[in-house]
């Protein structure tokens, strides 16, 4: 019985789902249901194979017009897993719409958290920092290395992730790569590497020098010269630490800090401190 109903969903169809998801995930993004249109549209290559008529297609598409939002790259296995559920349903398993919604909304949060904190921010920033450091040295390989590597990682993971999700179905969250221990280790490794590179980057990109000097008899002493004798780049370091402290420990918003830095720069420059 199952043979007769079993739709021919090939690896190529899932590849098409992956390409659609990769490209469209933010295209019709809206405040109300966020990535929902892209999600429904991404299901089309699979639904075309399993829906027998327009009515069935309509039901299936409407099912995926509900709220959806995740980090699109790390969340890609979820797209494949939902495609697998559609095939199961077409094969005669009784999967009500509620179950689709429960699984999507249950997994999209954790995947977004992982994707935003580890992948799209820490991982991206790490490679980006590296490219920026090279670029500031005048090396054109800085932007090129970043472009090639991050594009390969994103496209590769998304297309693989959708296939992986389709193969594993709902077992995706049990798999090794999403285990808390694995994530904790990867986060710690990237944090240490990231902090070291960002430290170096800060020294390259933040600049501040004082122009305070005083004359004693015949010799003029530059304050900056004394500071450089202690530690080169001391003033930028203090500015970064103060900004970080206010942002992280005092929860000051980015806009307020932006204004604060502008005021410090303006007053300092007008009073000839900097």
């Amino acid at each position: 019985m199952a043979e007769k109903m079993n739709p021919e969903v090939s690896k190529k169809d899932i590849y098409k789902v992956g390409v659609r998801w990769l490209m469209s995930n933010t295209s019709a993004w809206n405040w109300e249901r966020m990535q929902n249109v892209a999600f429904a549209w991404s299901m089309v290559p699979v639904l075309k194979k399993i829906c027998k008529n327009k009515e069935e297609m309509g039901h299936a598409l409407s099912r995926h017009m509900s709220f959806f939002n995740t980090e699109p790259t790390i969340g890609s296995p979820l797209v494949g897993a939902v495609a697998a559920m559609e095939v199961q349903k077409a094969n005669g398993e009784d999967i009500p719409d509620d179950v689709f919604n429960a699984i999507k909304s249950g997994l999209m949060g954790p995947m977004a958290a992982l994707g935003d904190s580890l992948f799209a921010s820490t991982g991206n920033a790490l490679l980006l920092s590296f490219g920026m450091g090279l670029a500031l040295e005048g090396n054109v390989m800085g932007p090129i290395i970043f472009m090639v590597l991050w594009t390969a990682i994103t496209v590769g993971f998304t297309l693989w992730g959708v296939q992986f999700g389709f193969r594993e179905g709902m077992k995706i969250m049990d798999s090794e790569i999403f285990s808390p221990a694995m994530i904790a280790r990867a986060t710690a490794f990237l944090s240490i590497l990231g902090l070291t590179v960002v430290g170096g980057l800060s020294a390259q990109f933040v600049s501040l020098a004082t122009s305070i000097s005083w004359t004693n008899g015949e010799s003029t002493t530059q304050l900056q010269g004394i500071l450089d004798g202690l530690m080169p780049g001391l003033l930028p370091f203090i500015i970064i630490m103060v900004t970080w402290y206010l942002h992280d420990k005092k929860n000051m918003s980015v806009i307020k800090l932006l204004l604060m830095l502008i005021v410090i720069g303006t007053i300092g420059s007008l009073l000839h401190v900097f």
Binding site: E32, W41, A125, L195, V197, G199, G200, G233, T243, H247
Partner: protein, 254 residues
């Protein structure tokens, strides 16, 4: 700036936007081509000054290094800041520090485009509901990558083109008449603003306070020792291996 340069750069402010699918969606457009570092390279190629392009792009990027978009909240339009900021800086010949000060207001204005776009999409989604319920795949495709992209193109390309084509010569004139004290202020501000990007990134990376030690080491390696960034990255990998792997090997040994 020539007409063709303004058209090409304005085209990239559309293509490299977060919602544009043609270069590979958010993951590639926003996270690769949208970064000011890459914008610096592309604008540098278009304007025939790659070296200054990438230096300015990287400097503008430092301000936005920690910028992510959790749940679609965007603090600043780094794409406009990168492309238009670099282009205006190159055409006026100002320093990288002054380029940062040009980029900040551009980035703030750009966020309204995203908010307007997502608001229009919130109306469109109800029409999409209807097409989806009818099972009309062609119309769903149009509502996913057709109509929103036409709107996005108009919202991104037109203002960027106008600013670039007509603004560049105006900016050139303005820059000539900026008094020295104002140049001083803008340069100091441009020098310290990247501290904000670093602070945001630090907040994100510092899972425990003691990890700030690694930041200090990285800072000294370049500020005091002047090592290249590649060397610093290798030292970072070494430190991460000692801290992480050594610990887990010890745990396994017992």
């Amino acid at each position: 700036m020539t007409l063709i340069q303004a058209v090409l750069i304005a085209l990239f402010t559309y293509l490299a936007w977060i919602a544009t699918p043609w270069l590979g969606g958010q993951g590639v457009s926003y996270h690769v081509f949208g970064k000011p570092l890459v914008a610096g390279l592309i604008v540098g190629l278009i304007m025939g000054d790659v070296k200054n392009g990438i230096i300015i792009g990287a400097t503008i990027n430092a301000l936005y290094i920690g910028a992510v978009t959790p749940g679609g909240a965007m603090a600043s339009d780094i794409n406009i800041a990168g492309y238009v900021g670099t282009a205006l800086a190159l055409s006026t010949g100002v320093s990288a520090e002054m380029a940062v000060s040009i980029a900040v207001p551009l980035g703030l204005i750009g966020t309204f485009v995203w908010q307007l776009f997502a608001t229009i999409n919130s109306f469109l989604v109800h029409k999409t509901d209807q097409y989806a319920a009818e099972g009309d795949v062609a119309k769903l495709t149009f509502m996913t990558i057709g109509l929103p992209q036409m709107i996005a193109f108009v919202f991104r390309f037109v203002p960027a083109f106008l600013v670039l084509y007509f603004g560049a010569s105006a900016a050139q004139n303005i820059v000539q008449f900026i008094p020295e004290w104002l140049t001083g202020i803008i340069t100091v501000i441009g020098g310290i603003l990247p501290a904000l990007g670093m602070a945001v990134l630090l907040k994100m990376l510092l899972s425990t306070p003691s990890l700030i030690g690694y930041f200090i080491i990285g800072y000294i390696l370049i500020a005091a020792l002047g090592l290249p960034i590649f060397t610093v990255a290798l030292i970072g990998i070494g430190l991460a291996m000692i801290s992480m792997l050594h610990k887990s090997e010890q745990e396994e040994a017992y």
